[in-house]
């Protein structure tokens, strides 16, 4: 039930991510803007990676939640610039990821000039289960575009991490 205090932003922001359902599209920084206009609600979202297959589902989910809450018509737009960064994941989003056993990303590199080549290992994320910093990367690319695979040398558990981007 919609109360007077519930805004279109609150409704849209509560949409879970289809691939990481423990966090919302607002937690991930995918939701960029929700504008309530005389002509309806305009939602702006941005893809994490160019090939992200979840954009269509996110768009349908946000639209459905808003329409069920009584907002209409709903327009969902894509915004490409500036490119999404894992730094946009909120503190709350990082806590939820860690609680689900997914290591949150380290800060994304800030660059000026040519992108430096990385031939050695990147800094290893701490284990989201036992907290040990003694972990190793087992794969740079995981089950989704935004994650890498790791193993903890202390507790022995494998885990995923969101890649800094």
């Amino acid at each position: 039930m919609v109360t007077a205090m519930t805004t279109a932003y609150d409704i849209a922001a509560g949409t879970p991510d289809p691939e990481l359902p423990m966090v919302t599209v607002a937690d991930l920084g995918i939701l960029r803007a929700v504008d309530e206009t005389a002509a309806g609600v305009v939602v702006t979202i941005t893809p994490t990676y160019s090939g992200c297959p979840a954009m269509r589902e996110i768009s349908a989910d946000v639209r459905q939640r808003l329409e069920r809450a009584g907002f209409a018509p709903v327009t969902v737009r894509t915004r490409l610039a500036p490119a999404w960064s894992s730094d946009w994941i909120t503190g709350e989003g990082q806590r939820k990821l860690a609680a689900a056993g997914i290591a949150p990303p380290s800060p994304a590199p800030r660059r000026n000039g040519p992108v430096p080549l990385t031939l050695g290992p990147r800094p290893a994320p701490s284990c989201p289960r036992c907290g040990s910093p003694r972990t190793r990367r087992t794969a740079e690319f995981g089950a989704t575009a935004c994650k890498s695979l790791h193993r903890c040398d202390h507790c022995g558990e494998p885990f995923e991490a969101v890649k800094p981007l």
Partner: protein
Amino acid sequence: MSTEHDNPYDLLGTDHDEGHRWAFGTGFTDPLEGVDTSVPAALDAGALARYCLALGDDALIYSHRLQQWVARMPELEEETAVANIALDLLGQARMLLARAGGILGRTEDQLAFFRAETDFRNVRLTEHEDRDFAELAGRLLIFSAWRLALFQELSAATDPVLAAIAAKGVNELTYHRDYAAQWVVRLGDGTALSHERMQTALEALWPLVGELFRPDADALAAVEPGMVDAVLDTVLTAAGLDRPDAAPLAAVGGRAGRDGVHTEAMGYILAELQSVARAYPDATW
């Protein structure tokens, strides 16, 4: 509930429950939906379309080549890597073809599936068939080092849509290039056999490098060969590999991939890529 469907595949291509689908990743919408796609007045729209088509074709054809490796990789971790890289490039291809198609009045699917070989503008490096994992690693290193340098330049392009696509691509290509570079070093600096095969792979690939730097009248940015060479030389030195001294693959009457002149491999790629869409032109997915 409709009883017309006696085959679950019939349901995969349609919407249920207010825009949702049963299968994830089906039901494509315009990747530039809601993006301002007007062409800046100072730009030649035809040239911009041709250039976006060229960059989109590079990504589309190379993504297809990488997809052919899926289910053939030596380890599961490399399988997910190649699949993810192919997916990133497919995403870049979709946005670039949509940018070109918006100007040309064609959809991304029409451009991908219903053009003839001579209308594809990809460089010939992207259509090469990797004969082993060393060629996969070497080709990915060359391609991603070149495309990363080019996309960095294009991030400031006068077309804001192309600039945004390029800026996003830079982040992805950085991961692709590092992945390839680390494998080239591992193979080059590995056993005598892996070293020999990595060197042989580079010898086979090097004739395709020169074409990347051919002048292109439609281009909105250019990359100096030296910028890419510096990266490649860093990797080859770390790997203990020699830089090949191979002559570039000749153009045909002055024409190469960007002009629609391709190697024999291209016909086979398009036959596979386009056959379903051409056999079932009304199909949805």
